[in-house]
């Protein structure tokens, strides 16, 4: 019986991107279904009735939602090219950083870029603290996963690609080689990886999106 894997996503979303990378890393064939958030499909509403969000993975008819939950599912289902270490302690550390990225870092970085004048300084400070912490964790490793891209790197692609695009549009200088040399180098290495590079949304799609947002916020 052929395995049926479908992914409901949005082209510019870092969250559905994570899932695509994980599937591609493991050589899993899947059907990609582009969703329109302004006009959600009946299938999306059926498979994620609780949150009505992307990404949703459908495997042999069973839906899974929430990007990190999906990543763990993919890891447990397809064993090629593991994205988590084998050792329980190392796994716990990887999960810790994935959560830190999702709960604190990404939001702080996003907020700092879009903050109104008077909140900007504080938001930038908070975001910088997050990046500094990440830089400390990376130390002398090529990737958060070590020599190879792992779950933390996949989750952190937002920082490596999306953040740099937003920064450019809004004129924030959060992640620079001067401020965070290790993290900056990591972001270049990550985006340079064939499997990541080939599967990123076009940068001008993102910048166009962000420009539109910037205009409408004026």
């Amino acid at each position: 019986m052929a395995e049926e894997v479908k992914l409901f996503g949005i082209r510019g979303s870092p969250f559905s991107h994570r899932i695509e990378i994980a599937l591609k890393l493991k050589g899993v064939s899947y059907e990609y279904i582009e969703e329109d958030l302004q006009n959600k499909s009946p299938l999306l509403l059926k498979y994620n009735p609780v949150h009505k969000k992307i990404p949703v993975l459908l495997h042999n008819g069973k839906p899974i939602a929430e990007s990190i939950v999906i990543l763990e599912y993919i890891e447990e289902t397809w064993k090629t090219n593991p994205i988590l270490p084998a050792d329980p302690y190392e796994r716990a550390i990887a999960r810790f950083w994935a959560k830190f990225l999702d709960d604190k870092c990404m939001l702080a970085a996003w907020n700092a870029c879009w903050a109104k004048e008077k909140e900007r300084e504080k938001a930038m400070e908070e975001a910088s603290e997050g990046l500094k912490t990440l830089e400390g964790e990376l130390k002398d490793k090529k990737f958060f996963g070590g020599d190879k891209v792992g779950m933390v790197d996949i989750v952190a692609t937002f920082i490596a690609f999306w953040l740099t695009a937003v920064q450019e549009v809004v004129g924030a200088d959060l992640l620079t080689p001067e401020k965070f040399p290790i993290l900056f180098k990591w972001s270049e290495d990550l985006v340079g990886c064939p499997i990541i590079k080939e599967n990123l949304p076009p940068r001008d799609l993102l910048t166009a999106n962000f420009r539109a947002r910037l205009e409408s916020s004026k």
């Binding site: 069973k62 599912y73 796994r91 999960r95």
Partner: protein
């Protein structure tokens, strides 16, 4: 299992450190419990969890791990008997999904309702009840919970949402609000009863009277300040 190998930093009234204790008890793992005063954090805590400066923190054989759900997974992977998570990847995904849902949509809103007033409180209450309706249907009538299919062992989901049994009623009383109407949530009510009477849970709950005093004080403090919430 030598108790010195495992240390857990916790706070007596924190549902987050308590859930790790429940997991260790299920596994029969001996541990040294270190009580932290989260309002006067020890150097040890700040050294062990510099990123978040929070409990729970587990130290196992010198290895330091933080974040309660991550700790549940660590405990489950390290001590393999009496598994907490099911074997099947899809069931595991569901357990993780609902644990996250409960934390974000039930706990957060219940806490907000407790610490706010007027319209804000009403809104949080409504959101909490809406989330509890989903929990009732999908979790407490589901197959992974204590009592379902004759299950008598505590699992990941029981432990993850266990705070509902003992902390939520305290929030309700302190906040003069009702969320857990047993007529509206019969499966939840039945699970609460089983959970609270489970041998590993019964003697492992913070004393209700002390909790009432504590949360009364906390809600007063928090409703009078605009920011800076420690969620316990």
């Amino acid at each position: 299992m030598e108790s010195k190998e495992v240390k857990l930093l916790g706070f007596w009234v924190s549902p987050f450190s308590r859930r790790v204790e429940w997991a260790l008890k299920v596994k029969g793992v001996g541990y040294e419990y270190i009580e932290e005063d989260i309002f006067n954090k020890s150097n040890l805590l700040l050294e062990l969890n510099p990123v978040h400066k929070k409990v729970p923190v587990l130290v196992h054989d010198g290895k330091v791990i933080a974040e309660s759900f991550i700790l549940l997974e660590y405990v489950d992977e390290t001590w393999k008997h009496h598994p907490l998570l099911p074997q099947d990847p899809h069931q595991r995904a569901l357990a993780r999904f609902w644990a996250k849902f409960c934390e974000e949509k039930v706990f957060e809103t219940a806490w907000n309702a407790l610490c706010s007033k007027g319209e804000e409180k009403q809104k949080a209450l409504e959101q909490c009840k809406e989330a509890m309706e989903k929990m009732e249907e999908e979790v407490f009538k589901g197959k992974q919970i204590l009592g379902s299919d004759g299950r008598s062992n505590l699992g990941y989901l029981d432990i993850a949402v266990g705070w509902i049994s003992h902390w939520l009623p305290v929030f309700e009383e302190v906040g003069s609000m009702q969320i857990l109407d047993p007529l509206q949530f019969p499966a939840t009510a039945a699970w609460i009863d089983r959970f609270l009477n489970h041998p590993l849970i019964k003697d492992n709950l913070p004393p209700r009277e002390k909790m009432l005093v504590y949360f009364h004080q906390r809600s007063q403090e928090l409703s009078s300040t605009a920011q800076g919430w420690i969620k316990v």
